[in-house]
Subunit: 163 residues, 2 copies
Amino acid sequence: MSEALAIREKHDGALAERSSVRLWLRLLSCTMAIEKDVQRRFAAHGTTLARFDLLAALDRHPDGMTMGALSRALLVSNGNVTQLVQKLAKDALVAIAPSPADRRASIVRLTQAGRADFAALAAAHHDWIDGLLAGMDAPAREQLYQALGALKRAIAKGQSLGS
Amino acid sequence: MSEALAIREKHDGALAERSSVRLWLRLLSCTMAIEKDVQRRFAAHGTTLARFDLLAALDRHPDGMTMGALSRALLVSNGNVTQLVQKLAKDALVAIAPSPADRRASIVRLTQAGRADFAALAAAHHDWIDGLLAGMDAPAREQLYQALGALKRAIAKGQSLGS
DNA sequence: AGAAGATATTTTAGGCCTAAACCATTTGGA
DNA sequence: TCCAAATGGTTTAGGCCTAAAATATCTTCT
């Protein structure tokens, strides 16, 4: 409860006049709504989105990844990867091996259990997202996808300029 | 560095086949990119997005808000509001008064300093968002806004069904 | 009035995340 | 060769956030 059913936009009132701010607030509220829902479902399975993301990255790299590669792939800090990997290793979902080439680096791989775990979660995750977006028909989804593509390009342009 | 310039989508490879998942990942990556940028800028001003959101809510309610009202307005947990408000109170940006009507409740208001602080931050925030979205022209922004409206409705429908 | 339930809030334990300081190893010159 | 800079990781301190338990105070029903 108290988890509002309707997706409300923060700052809905006063300051949302400028179109870019209004757009940003709507983007944020939609994303948060979906993300919280997904988080809740992962929690019900005893895991989290961050752990899932890490397993997903490893699943795509059967030869393993270094900590740094994980950090770059997941767009999170190095220290964060250290934390997550250590906990996943404790749960025996990933294995950490020293890199033969570089004694500073270690290579993280999925274990058998990790691979199985991920496969099950990935299937469920698909279904959750499909369910959440079921209210949009395919053309509407495609249109949003394209519009986000434009945003993505705009952001890249804006960021390269810095500020 | 290492903060990728191009906005990459997590899971870009394997599992992003289904259109709804692909859409979700793009939505998430765009939102995160903007949010991290905004967070960084707030940090440079010695504050955070969460604090700003709280001040913004209070700015729109000159008579003050209870903790519970803040929690609902910001879509965050009650305990989180407690934390934020206590820190903002320590910084003298908000004041906490007992509710005359209900001795359980307290009423949080902006102080003069809080109001001034917020006004300055809000102006800066506007400009940051405007800058970030400058790469999109007005029609493109409007189109994305509308497409997100469809998503918003779809989510609301989906959530009311539960799962 | 008195007890049972509903509300408003805080506390606790824990997960995610970051920046900055720090250590170890590798690399690229002078 | 040898050292300075770069690179790979971990640690530390701290901020955000949540769910669940605990408190205190209404409210409501009998």
